[in-house]
């Protein structure tokens, strides 16, 4: 069934493998209509970037205390 749970799974798997043509169509059509799934789909690359950024931060957890304001 094509619902948000299924479509977010496709978004997630798109980070892991190339989706089939049918899967890409389902994802595309659903995210055109559904703002929640569209936001989810846009946020996954950000989660990946965040995780890599987090892993790559050097020299401890408090890089720049002075600039916090």
């Amino acid at each position: 069934m094509i619902n948000c749970e299924h479509v977010t799974r496709l978004s997630s798997e798109q980070q892991e493998r190339r989706l089939s043509l049918r899967e890409r169509l389902v994802l595309k059509l659903h995210t055109l209509m559904c703002r929640g799934c569209r936001n989810f789909d846009r946020q996954l690359p950000l989660l990946r970037q965040a995780a890599r950024h987090y892993a790559g931060r050097r020299d401890g957890q408090h890089p720049d205390r002075d600039s916090e304001g």
Binding site: C4, E5, R17, Q43, L46, D59, E68
Partner: protein
């Protein structure tokens, strides 16, 4: 070619800086504990990795290189340990699965559509958040709040950047298990970041 004298100075500098070493050790411990879910095993793995790294410290010209390398050693140790207890992990994984499923499906209604309160919002200026130290505290807390198995595969995938086959082999998962776990981890992590950062800040 002999780079020893240059490398040794920088390497020794890394060890001599106790604040740096202890912060590094803390980061490694956090990482290993998330992966192994056993603080004693994690402690041992970190200890081993640091000792191997220190023994060859003269090969490293700076902190960034040292850190990358020491984490690579740690990662290998973790993968070894996980392989050894593959069956055990798999068994405990099955026990947790039900609970997990329930928590994630709470985000969706009976037909699998978003519950109104859980529907993802647009995030304003995420890259600016990356510049903020407090954001990273929220990020860390959200990671720690993931169920252990989800945190483990998410970190293996996104932090250590192992590929799917490696993760499946070392954690005793099928590809489809892995995709389910990553999907749940992302749903939860996203939800947590939104609740505690993007929505809270708006």
């Amino acid at each position: 070619m002999n780079r020893d004298s240059v490398g040794e100075t920088a390497g020794t500098d890394v060890i001599a800086d106790t604040a740096y070493t202890s912060s590094l050790r803390e980061q490694m411990l956090k990482f290993a504990t998330l992966q192994l879910t056993d603080p004693h095993l994690a402690e041992d793995a970190v200890q081993d990795a640091l000792i191997s790294a220190m023994n060859n410290v003269s090969e490293f010209a700076g902190r960034a290189a040292f850190k990358t390398w020491v984490f690579a050693i740690l990662k290998n140790k973790i993968v070894d340990i996980l392989r050894q207890r593959q069956r055990l992990v798999y068994a405990s994984n099955l026990l947790r699965e039900d609970e997990d499923e329930q928590a994630v499906s709470e985000l969706f209604d009976r037909n699998g559509f978003w519950q109104p309160d859980d529907r993802p919002l647009a995030w304003s200026d995420p890259h600016q958040a990356f510049e903020n130290a407090e954001f990273w505290q929220v990020f860390e807390t959200c990671l720690e709040n993931l169920p252990p198995k989800q945190a483990q595969v998410f970190m293996m995938r996104e932090f250590v950047q192992l590929d799917s086959e490696e993760i499946c082999a070392s954690a005793g998962l099928t590809l489809s298990n892995l995709h389910v776990l990553l999907h749940r981890a992302r749903l939860r992590l996203r939800d947590c970041l939104e609740m505690h950062w993007f929505k809270a800040g708006a």
